[in-house]
């Protein structure tokens, strides 16, 4: 469970990027956050793992290790009070929260596998990580994560040699390798073409369904949001202006969130099947 109570973020420049937010997200939900550029979407998502500190209110994150790739047994839930969290405790929290970035944030000069193994850094003794001597179990987990996003054949290829869509799949695998209870994705498809975007969204949806990982995705495109979200949260100027199931979010609602009529820029469009090489590697539909 993630619980914002009267939470605010004011940046050094005086921008109020989050204002008195009250929001509760239950374990296992697939939440999409929409809003205009500058509405505070990234701020919200980054607050969850403490990359952006709150300047007011409170934020509680409860993680419950659940089903995962590595078959980690369901453990006792741990509760984190994110405000003021530092050092070891902060890193513990972050290890439970996977993050996927718009720019992929891979280390381009090293192999795909090494990038995914970054997801294991928190679990492996530091001296082993320094020498790159990861235990076989962790390598196995990274491999499984790569299999999950169907890119295991590139495990020993340098990340710089992958296309954007492939890099984002590695990004997902890295998050997955953390065996997280929460996944945060900040505009994961903003630099990808429509078919690739749909593929990435489907991977996220599947992971959410299969492992019960709470998933929060920032999106710019409304049709993607309604198609994949269980729940849509609309932000405007750092304030919550909509919160409801994906099905309830019709055009009027979006007009409310965006403060203007919708334009062609706000929708991504259908995926064109088979047109693009990237589209061929679509995940199998619902394995569960």
């Amino acid at each position: 469970m993630i619980q914002f109570s009267d939470a605010s973020v004011t940046y050094a420049g005086g921008v109020h990027a989050m204002q008195h937010l009250d929001l509760t997200i239950e374990q296992g939900e697939f939440v999409v956050i929409v809003g205009l550029s500058g509405a505070g979407k990234s701020t919200l998502v980054r607050a969850v793992n403490g990359l952006v500190p709150l300047t007011g209110g409170s934020l509680q994150v409860d993680v419950r290790p659940g089903r995962s790739l590595g078959g980690r047994s369901e453990g006792e839930p741990t509760s984190y009070d994110v405000v003021g969290l530092t050092g070891r405790r902060l890193r513990d929290l972050r290890a439970e929260v996977g993050m996927i970035f718009q720019g992929f944030n891979l280390v381009k000069r090293t192999t795909v596998l090494n990038n995914v193994l970054m997801g294991r850094l928190h679990r492996v003794p530091t001296w082993r990580t320094l020498l790159g001597m990861y235990p076989a179990d962790d390598v196995e987990l990274a491999m499984r994560a790569l299999e999950r996003v169907e890119i295991v054949d590139k495990a020993y290829v340098r990340a710089s040699n992958l296309s954007g869509g492939q890099q984002q799949r590695v990004g997902i695998a890295r998050a997955l390798a953390q065996e997280p209870s929460i996944i945060l994705a900040d505009e994961p498809v903003a630099s990808l073409d429509p078919p690739t975007s749909h593929a990435v969204m489907r991977y996220l949806q599947q992971i959410n369904r299969e492992f019960g990982i709470t998933t929060i995705v920032n999106l710019h495109f409304l049709d993607l949001a309604t198609r994949y979200a269980d729940r849509i949260v609309g932000l405007r100027n750092g304030e919550l202006v909509f919160d409801g199931p994906g099905s309830a979010a019709d055009e009027h609602v979006f007009r409310d969130i965006y403060g203007r009529s919708l334009t062609a820029d706000d929708v991504m469009g259908e995926e064109e099947r088979g047109g693009d090489a990237e589209a061929v590697v679509t995940p199998p539909t619902s394995p569960a």
């Binding site: 299999e147 394995p287 569960a288």
Partner: protein, 269 residues
């Protein structure tokens, strides 16, 4: 509890063996370092011990004498250094342009010319400035002249290298256009190639001047004129405060010249 097995459409790749290159580099590093230590007799203990001992150089630095600048001989030597650097840059730089052109595919008329010029450039580049000075001192005796000649050749080496690197990356469109008009070889170079590299070339000249100024400080150590003669004079007399005084003053001057040169180079771009 284990996860649902994902569709294994793709087999896992085998882990590639550690890169032969990486291993070779590691071995090379260790072997080179070990051999070097053995053959030079390098020892860290020795270094630390030496640093702890009292010595003329360090105590000279502590009693640095900046009043050397008032001696007319030193002043003249400073001026000579500047003159050597100026002339070396202008003459050497002027010679470098055709040499750079002739060393590239666009500029050379034939492959033979290109290879000959390249070989010449490589040899000139392989001989360090002070070695040129030694040679010219042997040919024309000590004084400013050998220093000046040494700097001419040093400038040729530096500017030719930098300029020909830029030449490798020029836009070949204009060259093609010039060929299409039936322009003669030299005319083609003048109109289609030189304008493309001129800003870079001028900036290289100024950069080369900075290098020359620095180089001219050491040529005097072998009798080739300039401020180095004064450094050598005081050094052989064991007058370290004066040696340090000249070094510090010289670098103050080069610092000023460098700032000016950078200012000009900015304007050029």
């Amino acid at each position: 509890m284990s996860a649902t097995a994902p569709s294994r459409r793709v087999a896992r790749p085998d882990e590639p063996p550690p890169s032969r290159f990486g291993v070779a580099m590691g071995v090379l590093f260790v072997v080179m370092t070990a051999l070097s230590v053995v053959s030079t007799g390098f020892s860290l203990d020795g270094i630390i011990e030496d640093l702890g001992r009292r010595n003329d150089s360090i105590s000279g630095l502590l009693n640095i004498d900046l009043s050397v600048i008032t001696s007319t001989r030193t002043l003249t030597a400073f001026v000579e250094t500047l003159q050597m650097a100026v002339v070396g840059t202008i003459i050497g730089g002027a010679a470098a342009l055709p040499l750079a052109l002739a060393s590239t595919e666009v500029g050379a008329r034939t492959t033979t010319v290109r290879w000959l010029v390249r070989a010449f450039n490589n040899v000139v580049r392989a001989i360090p400035d002070i070695l040129w000075a030694l040679l010219f001192v042997a040919m024309v005796g000590i004084g400013v002249l050998p220093g000046l000649l040494a700097l001419v050749f040093f400038s040729i080496a530096v500017t030719t290298k930098l300029t020909s690197d830029v030449l490798d990356g020029i836009d070949l469109g204009p060259v093609e256009a010039a060929d299409a008009t039936g322009a003669a070889h030299v005319a083609k170079l003048r109109t289609a190639v030189v304008p493309q590299i001129l800003p870079a070339y001028s900036s290289f000249l100024l950069y080369n001047f900075e290098l020359n100024l620095r180089a001219s400080a050491v040529l005097g150590l072998v009798g080739a004129g300039g401020i180095g003669t004064r450094i050598e004079f005081y050094r052989s007399a064991g007058r370290w405060p004066e040696v340090w005084g000249i070094i510090v003053l010289f670098f103050a001057i080069t610092f000023v010249v460098e700032r000016l040169s950078i200012m000009f180079r900015r304007r050029l771009v």
